[in-house]
């Protein structure tokens, strides 16, 4: 995904609805050919950002460029982007073929070429045999593929997808995610994908844009964002994590040390710009905790096992520390290792590399 110039460039984008700020000072570059997901809780402005790019809303201040051109005065029908709507917005008075052909028809493409392109697109989304069905005769997954085909057949530079899988059940969703990746490779278009499902974001994207209350909180590759969240919000929103309220006790060349009020000590190899006695939050993922003392440098805490949830290849333990706070531990199944049972006393261990120290909100 080596990008030369960004296909979309948003600078200082602010959008107000009356006195309400839906988007505040957004700066974002979207690279040619990537899958970028906008991730964030409901109401954080994801749809609004899409609608700005598609041309259904105008920025209150700031600029949006597509392919180096400021699009402020270009109406939606002349922008090189196509959108897959949150509820599909398929035309109920047209059948599948006519829905997909709509864009080409209004642009005046000759009938022969149009029919060929539509049929090729229907083949890609595997809906050839449904060409003459009306929309109300389709399942949710089929509607979703029609919506995708209807947008992609126009060969957009950028495809905007607003929670395209939200209405589908888990099984079809996983199938459609794979489809989406395949279609992305096949068409080479840039995908901007909205979701508030973190799994979707992690599976699909080259980069994730995490949003909160109209602001961009962090833009990163999924693995980076998961391993190195830059805020407490990011740590909590993406994946599951344990948060400890601590006070810094030492900052020096070998890292930072912090301690909870009950005396549990955390050491991170990162040297923060904070000073001792400042408050800081520590985040450790459940899968970074273990009951095995494998690493001589490991840090540890005493605990009592409360509850175990078995989930096939892994189990989730809820343990209680001395200060009664609850911590989740994920254990990968391994017949050779002995694991504690509910009520047992145990010790949890973790490595310095898995300690993430974050400013408190």
């Amino acid at each position: 995904m080596a990008a030369i110039a960004p296909i979309i460039e948003i600078r200082n984008g602010t959008k107000m609805f009356g006195s309400f700020t839906a988007l505040a000072d957004i700066n974002l570059s979207i690279n040619q050919g990537e899958i970028l997901t906008l991730l964030g809780p409901s109401g954080c402005g994801k749809t609004t950002l899409m609608r700005l790019i598609a041309g259904f809303e105008n920025l209150t201040s700031g600029t949006i460029q597509i392919g180096g051109v400021d699009i402020a005065n270009i109406p939606p029908e002349r922008r090189p982007v196509n959108m897959v709507f949150q509820r599909y917005a398929l035309f109920p008075h047209l059948d599948v073929f006519e829905n997909v052909a709509f864009g080409l028809k209004v642009k005046g493409m000759p009938k022969e070429e149009r029919t060929e392109r539509v049929n090729r697109m229907l083949h890609i989304v595997q809906l050839e045999s449904f060409a003459n069905r009306y929309i109300d005769q389709l399942s949710g997954g089929q509607c979703q593929r029609v919506a995708l085909a209807r947008a992609l057949v126009n060969g957009p530079k950028v495809l905007l997808l607003d929670e395209p899988l939200a209405a589908l059940d888990l099984k079809i969703r996983q199938h459609m995610l794979a489809e989406m990746k395949r279609i992305h490779i096949e068409t080479g278009a840039t995908f901007v994908y909205v979701t508030h499902d973190q799994d979707e974001a992690l599976i699909l994207s080259d980069r994730v844009v995490l949003m909160e209350k109209g602001r961009v909180v962090q833009v990163d590759r999924p693995t980076e964002m998961y391993a190195k969240p830059k805020s407490l919000f990011a740590a909590k929103f993406l994946g599951e994590t344990n948060i400890f309220e601590t006070t810094i006790t030492a900052v020096n060349g070998i890292g930072t040390t912090a301690r909870t009020s009950s005396g549990i000590q955390f050491h991170s190899s990162e040297t923060l710009t904070k000073k001792p006695s400042e408050k800081i939050a520590v985040s450790i993922r459940p899968e970074s905790l273990t009951f095995q003392h494998k690493n001589p440098d490991a840090q540890s805490a005493e605990c009592v096992v409360d509850d175990i949830v078995f989930m096939g290849s892994r189990s989730f333990y809820t343990v209680r520390l001395n200060d009664q706070s609850k911590v989740r531990v994920q254990v990968q199944r391994d017949g050779r290792l002995s694991v504690p049972s509910p009520g047992d006393k145990a010790t949890i261990f973790w490595d310095a590399s898995n300690v993430v120290m974050l400013p408190r909100d």
């Binding site: 259904f56 939606p76 196509n82 509820r87 917005a89 709509f102 209004v106």
Partner: protein, 262 residues
Amino acid sequence: MLLRILVWAVLAFLISPLIVIVLFSFHSSPALSFPFAGFSLRWYAELFNNAQLGSAVMKSLTVAFLTSVVTLLIGTTASLAWLRLGKVGRGFIEAVSVTPIALPGLFVGVSLLVLFAQAGLQLSTLTIVISHVVIALPILIVAMKARLALFDPSLEEASRDLGASQFQTFRRVTLPLIAPTLISSAILAFAVSFDEFVVTSFVAGTETTLPMYIWSMMRRTVTPLINAISTLALLFSILILLGAWLISHVRRRSAVAARIES
């Protein structure tokens, strides 16, 4: 069980007058009461030989047709505005359009009469049509509103997004989708106009519509002709409704058939 009997009783109450009228329109004697003496088409024959009645029917059809065309034009424009308005705008249209429905016909008739007099407008077919539009439009808007609420505005956005201009979007998306609503609304306007009596009697001048003709006929004697006229009117209404249903039904099928053939 009791509920079921009640339902049938209500239905019988609603339908029995219709059955009696249809039955007696074929009665071979002028008597309007049982026992039934036998079937004949004499009242229908008499109807078709009555020139005055014929011209009243033509007048009513003309007025109803003009009313539904004008109402439809205004109604379409209003419904397009409605789709684009916010809560406040919709509330305003609703308030303005519902009020006239609640006004007594007597009051509307007198007001219109005064208005036409002040405007120096001769009472004629034109004034009847204007009055009928005034009466039908609010009913039409109320009827349309419920169905337009189901219109999904994101369909228009999808159309623009796919490259259609504002006009293309209207022609290819908005209009086809609201057409059934418009057609059924036009039929409603036609029906309202066709049997309007109270207001018409104020603003008709020397013109005579069908309801006015029936009224004047009844004042002289109650003749079995009334039954025949009513039966024809009933048949006419059923045909219109059937037609409207067929139009919306057939369009879809023919669209598919046309493409499969080509």
